[in-house]
Subunit: 306 residues, 2 copies
């Protein structure tokens, strides 16, 4: 009997491991003295068809195939927030889908707790913009606040746009849901929500960088400590496999497509030129890496895990 056959005949010592159990979706790294923890909130999936306004489906499908997207004809959009431990404080940048996202989301709190954090001990929440996948984690469906002791800071222009009742009343039907959701999340805490503007330090070592276009007050954040620097690119691009490679493509989520495109070119060019360490909200987990110029576009090089 060959050794291989003998191995097959050995009585099984099978392990009692649940097949679906995955390592928790957090990843920790340092930016100087600041500890950064990426927290994953699962993913949403949508058809490639209709996802990009200004490219035909054949070109988009080709790009998706070149990136080996897991589901044919579909894009899987992940959600990864940051937790910063900086200057003795715990600071969040965006908060995921809470309990109102797609069934493949809602992983945030489990991963946040697995990383050793307690929502009651969050000092500050920075919000990049008011799309649901970035703000819904602030408040559960039942109305309760998720971070009861945190100060919430939002972009001044973003707040003014979404909280303007006149603008809401004039907005197309398709946008009423988004306006309503912003009110669901923020109205109960409106008096306490702080506003920031681009260029301001919003937490120790964290500076807001205006990157308007994706939404009226869309903001990135530079996290700096000593000579180390990370930039949270928020939604300057959706999936890097599509939009870092093809920065002129416009996802349906970009509210001002032309401004978003100009911002994307400017920001990608800046991080590529300076070889800055980046994080992207919608990059595959752990959603951090570098950007290099490549032909007419750029390429995203994910970090090596350590």
């Amino acid at each position: 009997m060959s050794a291989a056959a003998s191995a097959l005949g050995t009585p099984s010592l099978a392990q009692a491991v649940p097949a679906a159990e995955q390592a928790p979706g957090f990843y920790r790294y340092k930016v100087g003295d600041i500890t950064v923890t990426a927290i994953n909130d699962g993913y949403g999936e949508r058809p490639l068809e209709g996802f990009i306004r200004n490219a035909d489906l054949a070109a988009v499908t080709k790009a998706a195939e070149a990136e080996f997207f897991p589901a044919p004809g579909r894009v899987r959009i992940t959600f990864t927030t940051l937790v910063l431990q900086t200057g003795g404080k715990t600071v969040l940048i965006d908060v995921g889908n809470g309990d109102v996202g797609a069934p493949t989301t809602g992983r945030w709190m489990g991963n946040f707790r697995a990383a050793g954090f307690d929502p009651a001990k969050v000092d500050t929440v920075l919000i990049s913009h008011f799309h649901g996948d970035h703000i819904n984690g602030l408040r559960l469906k039942d109305g309760s606040a998720v971070f009861p002791n945190a100060e919430v800071l939002v972009g001044s222009e973003e707040w003014d746009f979404w909280m303007d009742d006149g603008r809401m009343s004039r907005a197309p039907e398709a946008m009423q849901g988004a306006f309503g959701n912003v009110r669901r999340v923020f109205a109960p805490m409106a008096a306490k929500v702080g506003r920031y503007q681009g260029g301001k330090e919003v937490a120790p070592g964290v500076t807001a960088v205006s990157a308007f276009g994706h939404s009226p007050g869309h903001t990135c954040f530079v996290i700096a400590s000593g000579s180390a620097k990370l930039i949270m690119m928020s939604d300057v691009t959706n999936h890097p496999g599509l939009f870092v490679r093809n920065p002129d493509w416009s996802a349906v989520f970009d509210m001002d497509a032309d401004m978003a495109r100009a911002t994307r070119r400017r920001m990608l060019d800046m991080v590529a030129t300076e070889r800055l360490h980046t994080a992207f909200y919608h990059a595959p987990f752990p959603a951090t890496g570098f950007v290099a110029k490549d032909g007419d576009g750029f390429r995203f090089v994910p970090v090596q895990w350590s």
Copy 2:
């Protein structure tokens, strides 16, 4: 007082999270009915200088910079083994550095246990080849066997090369350590070690694929279940950022550089043409993804975590 300043003034609710604590280094995915768990064993670092036999340092440095390697002038080589739960059995492919690797290694057992496994319940260990970073986890420094109930299966050509006393006695001084280490690991279990050859099914759904050159009996493994397929590329390449991109470069570890180069070209071409899901022992964790043709070489596209 601005909102931002007020946030900075809030008494800290700082979390008591140890800054160095990282998510455990395992990643689980499915290949049909087979559950695959990638287990990381840390990394080793070495200078780029002298690492590649047939390329000058400037070219190698440029390649490393294009891939944003974390330490200037150095390559960080990670180690990622696979655990397969297949046909009711727990099967390992390679076992990491055990307790005799660099201080930045030795993470394997912690990650293996964090993934829910017990070394006493391993049925089969498949060894790709006899370099220390693949076999040292079989036996601790103190001589004890790590997987007391496992059948160990090794390549027939690999065994014959390393266990040949005449060849050891004629080998150059620089190779005596490697020969000695093979004996340290295997001699106490020599009578029980099974041999496989290319083309044979070595565990349920797992077939050995000869890929000689890196070592005399170096082997890859195809893991197949239903229409799903994964190929463990073992050391067909060292770091994909260097050798997938530049398949003609020869790392100092390739024992027969010409044969290794031909094997690398052949295997990369095959997995790119068939768009096969691949795992690489020395790719950045979780060390799995796809290979596409790109110019004169190839590019490695890591999987999207899920």
